[in-house]
């Protein structure tokens, strides 16, 4: 949407509409940034160069559900196996190698031990120095074999499953299950996890967001206050929608990705983001991941970046291999054509490797390579 784009965004840190768009006149009422939100500093992540991987390049499968970067190693969970990209080469792991199931939904590296935890549709794996250990609902206390997400919290491993949450104490082997019987879990379809800073957040598909406080062991639920499945009535009064696909928690900010927009919660105020009045490429958001003060959103129509001031959308052009980058600030909209773009615009996963990003799509894996000259204002072609 080039040119006359007028976007409104109701902010959590101000009650007046925040006017975006190339044709918009900067409003004197634009609020100041909330604490912790960066001002645009001329070094926004503009990815012009994309390296794309498909099955032909060694990727296990073109549908990429999960990415986990561990230093110079990139683990990739796909619809048909686990891939490891290291030193320019791929290694593939499948059920014959010990993988619990061919469909890998989520990955987490234990930064202390180096063990990789793998969430699959047939159980949970620990991959440790070449050995797969498999945990299923039959051979362990795992509540269900359909594991959508895995996360590490000290010596505990959390697994989000189709039948609630399971938590493994790796030191004692004890499993604790969390479900509708012992938490305010309105649905047991747990879809994603975020562990950080003493909290565990759970994206519950159809049940909002659950919060677990590690210190107190207490649970709290966040629901859509309007309870509407098709429309958003009270956007900034709470979670934007109960169908939550993904959560992220960074710098005391909770981000929730739903199939009907994105919510931000700072512990006091909620703020919703919709396609119609923000830089969000689509309300259908598969995955969300915050890094510092910025957040990355994986939608069905491209990849979004948002740092509190500036939205960026990364897409592949409909024809050819070129990409496009759309930058939306309070002052203007900038659109760039880049030599390459992501493999596909249906984005499912993201992780970071230094300044580079790795992006999983429905049709391939992409690495966004950031070079020094790629800064806002340099070599850009303005849309106006």
């Amino acid at each position: 949407m080039r040119g006359a784009l007028l976007l409104f965004c109701f902010t959590a840190w101000g009650s007046l509409p925040w006017v975006y768009g190339a044709d918009a006149v900067a409003s004197p009422s634009v609020p100041s940034s909330p604490p912790g939100v960066q001002e645009p500093r001329g070094n926004l992540p503009i990815y012009r160069h994309w390296e794309n991987f498909s099955v032909g390049d060694g990727l296990p499968d073109n549908k990429v559900f999960a990415i986990c970067v561990e230093d110079d190693r990139v683990w990739v969970g796909t619809e048909n196996g686990l891939g490891l990209y290291e030193k320019g080469a791929w290694r593939i792991y499948r059920p014959a190698d010990g993988l619990a199931h061919r469909v890998v939904m989520s990955l987490a590296v234990d930064r202390k031990t180096g063990d990789l935890w793998v969430a699959t549709l047939g159980g949970l794996n620990r991959f440790s120095a070449g050995r797969f250990d498999t945990f299923t609902q039959l051979n362990s206390g795992l509540s269900n074999d359909v594991v959508y997400a895995v996360a590490i919290q000290d010596e505990f491993v959390w697994a989000a499953t189709a039948a609630g949450l399971s938590r493994l104490n790796t030191r004692t082997g004890e499993w604790a299950l969390f479900n509708e019987r012992n938490t305010p879990m309105h649905e047991i379809w747990c879809y994603n996890l975020a562990v950080n800073d003493g909290k565990v957040y759970v994206a519950v598909w159809g049940g909002g967001v659950l919060e677990y406080d590690v210190a107190t062991g207490r649970w709290k639920d966040y629901r859509d206050p309007d309870g509407e499945m098709e429309i958003v009535l009270f956007r900034d009064s709470g979670l934007i929608h109960d169908v939550v696909a993904s959560v992220s928690y960074e710098n005391k900010i909770l981000w929730a990705a739903t199939y009907f927009g994105v919510s931000r919660y700072d512990g006091r105020h909620w703020q919703g983001f919709l396609e119609k009045d923000s830089g969000l490429a689509s309300n259908f958001v598969n995955f969300i991941k915050a890094r510092g003060d910025a957040v990355w959103m994986c939608t069905d129509k491209g990849l979004n970046y948002f740092d509190g001031k500036t939205w960026i959308t990364y897409r592949r052009k409909a024809e050819g291999s070129e990409g496009e980058v759309k930058i939306l600030t309070t002052a203007n909209t900038t659109s760039l054509t880049t030599p390459s773009g992501p493999a596909n615009n249906y984005i499912l996963a993201i992780d970071f490797q230094g300044d580079d990003i790795w992006v999983g799509t429905a049709k391939g894996l992409s690495r966004g390579i950031r070079t020094r000259e790629e800064k806002l204002g340099e070599d850009t072609r303005r849309s106006r």
Binding site: G130, L138, R171, E174
Partner: protein
Amino acid sequence: MALTLLAAAVTCGFTQARSTGSRLQAVVYQSPTELVLSPDGARLYVVCEGSHSLAVVDLNRRTVIGRVPVGERPKGIALSPDGQTLYVTNHWSDTVSVVNARELRVTKNFPTGFGPAGVTIDRTGSTLYVANSISNDISVIDAKTGSEIKRLAAGRSPHHLSLSPNGETVSVANLLPNAGPFRTPPVSELTVIDTKTQRVIRREFLPGAATLRTVAYSPEGGFLLVALLRPKNLNPMVQVAQGWVITHGLGMVRFPAGAPPAQVLLDEIDRYFANPYGIAFTPDGRYAYVSSSGADVVTVVDARALAALIATASRADLKNYANLLSLSARFVRKRIPVGRDPRGLAASADGRFVYVANRLSDSISIISVDSNSGGQSIGEIYLGGPKRLTALRRGEILFQNASASFQRQFSCSTCHPEDHLDGLAYDLEPDGLGRNIVENRTLRGIAETAPYKWRGTNPDLETQCGPRVSKFLFRSEAYRPDQLRDLVTFLKAIPLPPNRYRRRDGKLTPAQQRGKMIFERITKKDGSPLPKMSSCLSCHTPPHYTSSIQADVGTINPYDSPGFFEAPQLNNVYEAGPYLHDGSAKTLEEIWTIFNPNDKHGFTSDLTKDQLNDLIEYLKTL
């Protein structure tokens, strides 16, 4: 001896001093297991498992000059690089005792995981690595503060570990094989840790191997040796007369990674050297000395000849070597008789001597190293304690020593290392290949759990260990009546280790409490009464959670003879896997999620997954 005994709980202590009546309370044997030399070679520090202490030996005077009480049942020892601090693992206390080597006193105790056994320290003296044999992991501990930095996943029952000569890696010998597919030969793991990242970087799998006791690097660091067994447990044990039922040898893992691991046997065609335990290289790397705890012998291995043999072997050769009884002639230079039940070894820095801890002789053998012949034993240092052998001690000697079996192929302890189990299923009966294979059982705390065997066919231990062992296992003359009495005395005194899941205050966690209610329930969740024999307590009654009731719990497989099974005792059941009579359930969960489809093994079909988890948490406390 692969006794398929039904074990249960007795709480007598491990040492004879603690085990039985007052008459025996004065009898405390030292039972040395591991040892380490001071940097100047003047002192030997010896872990004495029986007296729960560390003995300090002056090697010039060849006498004990000090003792340091440590924790319960000490196992492993490490010395800081500066020689000032000793670290002793306390297997039953779940601690490492920090001992000031100059003052000979414990300065503090560091907590560890469950069942610490081996320990080593890095070259900087800053990090300890402790093998937790019950929690199946490695504690990485700050040697100054005692804080645990991290816990690394090991194989099953990590028992011993060793630091490489360049300090870059720590290798771990795991006593029990990893859980594998049903009715397949064992595969054991050697775990390699990078000391820089403090992460596991390599897992070397040794097919056909079990009971990895200790590991030692060659001085130049090109390879390591690990003491192991190669059991043919799926072959009928009665074929012992044809030999080759359980063989004893070494694994060789080469560095850097890439070359396949090798296995060779220390045995000879008509004579076996049961239960290899400790390994020590001479500083020049010429020889490796290997103790055989079931043969009272130290074997002198020409390490260079062995390395050359393996280096030139093809993969086909390696496969052949692993089972070749005649191969030892190509690298074994000598067999040196030592004391009873030799365990840990240490070679002096000048390469002149090797010291051997003789566990059941309460002594240290001194071997004078000879570069041509391999050396000879030149004396023993007695560590103290009674020289009189009690019935219990005599029984333990019988238990450990393989001389009762045909060609000395194995001893009771071969299949029951640490008086426990080896994680294997055995074809024990002469009823055809592959029929009635049964899982090995622990011997800990079995005194009051008669009758024995999965089918309950042995009414007492005398029957179990008398003619049955002679006929079906050892294929030799039966024990004399006095020997049988001694052996049974020992078996009945094998204590049950402390339960790691029971809180010290006796209170149950909420999950355990919920599990207890399920274990003891007499009604279904809908309020209707449970059928008779469907309550856990019907067959698993306290205090050992066993009974003489025989039942069909729906687990007979097509290769089993029809019939019923005894209810096994459940004390410390978390250490007893795999489960069921044939070892088909790898975990406690599988007993009910896979092998109880018709509610014949207790009524469990009305339990939610949460409740099954609670039940298992309670079972672990029994």
